[in-house]
């Protein structure tokens, strides 16, 4: 219960004032394993849980399990990939970033996208609903980029390089997400084919 309150309080603090929240966290990043268990895992499981719940309600539990698991692995893989790529990518822009800082910064910038994952419980059969859901995702991605930019400013990265570094990180995240999505999509389809 205490840890749940921590995650909720930290998330609200981040969304209200990203620069202040990140300045404190990046100055003294927590132990990565603890951060992963306490902060990252609960947020990453939001979309997976939502999709699983939706599928159970619609009477397709197996599909829901595959989609939920795939979603969890995709989000977790994206977080790990961006975290590992961030330090050498930041060095290309003459910015020093340690691995613990990278894990924190990538998680915080993905937080809006993870939160929006709860909309996965809504069926997307109605076009307006689908449009609303995708619009929310877009807003979440843009706010995540803003959080990332604030994080680089809090580090601090060179002022003139903050925007290029944010753009480069976004491009890297897009490539990682697309590659993981394709590979996991093929894997999920193969699994469903074998099971059925």
């Amino acid at each position: 219960m205490y840890r749940t309150m921590n995650v909720i309080q930290d998330t609200f603090r981040l969304l209200r004032s990203p620069r202040a929240a990140l300045a404190a966290e990046l100055a003294a990043p927590p132990l990565t394993s603890v951060f992963f268990l306490v902060q990252v895992t609960p947020l990453v499981t939001l979309r997976a849980t939502a999709e699983l719940t939706r599928s159970f309600l619609m009477g397709t539990p197996l599909v829901g399990f595959v989609l939920g698991l795939g979603s969890f692995v995709l989000q977790m893989g994206l977080w790990l990939g961006v975290s590992l790529v961030l330090p050498p990518l930041a060095q290309q822009f003459r910015t020093e970033l340690s691995e613990p800082q990278a894990f924190v910064l990538s998680a915080r910038s993905l937080t809006p996208l993870w939160l929006v994952g709860v909309t996965g419980i809504v069926p997307l059969s109605v076009p307006l609903v689908m449009l609303w859901s995708r619009g929310l995702v877009l807003v979440a991605v843009l706010y995540g980029l803003w959080i990332l930019f604030q994080g680089f400013a809090a580090l601090p990265a060179r002022r003139s390089l903050q925007v290029p570094l944010t753009v480069a990180t976004a491009a890297a995240a897009l490539v990682l997400h697309t590659a993981l999505f394709v590979v996991l999509g093929i894997g999920a389809n193969v699994f469903i084919f074998l099971i059925s």
């Binding site: 698991l69 893989g77 990939g81 691995e99 590979v183």
Partner: protein
């Protein structure tokens, strides 16, 4: 000039922009050779269901190596990989098998195995390593420079995504990505 270029890039973490620039210059010096080599490697690998993938990949790496050293570059250098046929084939079989096996556990471990074993062909080509030694060396090298290798992979994959937008694009982006990996290997393994 090539030695100086290698030396300047050997200090510290990889400079991905410098690697990309040098890779482009290398490709642009002999574009027909590289496009033809990439087409042969991919085509023959598909036609032989992967049997020739390892040896031809090693051959292409030897061709790139010869050009980076400022030596003569000919398409028939591709067959140099056949002198290391058994090592290259077994390395390919072991890496593919390990990747597919690890992929059973929700795909991600398979990607990790493929990433960690990715440089094994370079060890076969440049150090004439046996399959197990090559895989272990690749594992060790990638773990020591995980961030840099992942950054290289992201750039290479992004490049090939862009290449896929044009139907024949991969014929250019695949050799470019391979040359970038060769330059990075030289820097990280030195």
């Amino acid at each position: 000039m090539n030695t100086a270029a290698n030396a300047s890039m050997n200090a510290g973490p990889i400079d991905i922009v410098a690697v990309a620039r040098r890779a482009y210059a290398t490709f642009a010096a002999r574009p027909i050779t590289h496009v033809a080599a990439a087409a042969i490697v991919v085509g023959a690998s598909v036609l032989t269901v992967g049997v020739l993938a390892g040896p031809l990949t090693v051959g292409y790496l030897l061709l790139i190596d010869a050009q980076l050293d400022g030596g003569d570059v000919r398409l028939d250098q591709l067959w140099g990989g056949f002198e290391l046929f058994s090592s290259a084939l077994i390395t390919w079989l072991l890496l593919t098998g390990a990747t597919l096996t690890a992929s059973v556990f929700v795909v991600l471990p398979g990607l990790v195995v493929a990433l960690l074993g990715g440089f094994s062909f370079w060890f076969v080509a440049h150090r004439q390593a046996s399959p197990i030694v090559a895989l272990k060396a690749s594992w060790s090298l990638t773990r020591r420079h995980l961030g840099s290798v992942l950054l290289l992979l992201v750039v290479a994959v992004g490049l090939n995504f862009l290449g896929l937008l044009v139907v024949i694009g991969p014929l250019i982006t695949l050799p470019l990505a391979t040359i970038m990996a060769s330059i990075t290997f030289r820097q990280l393994a030195s």
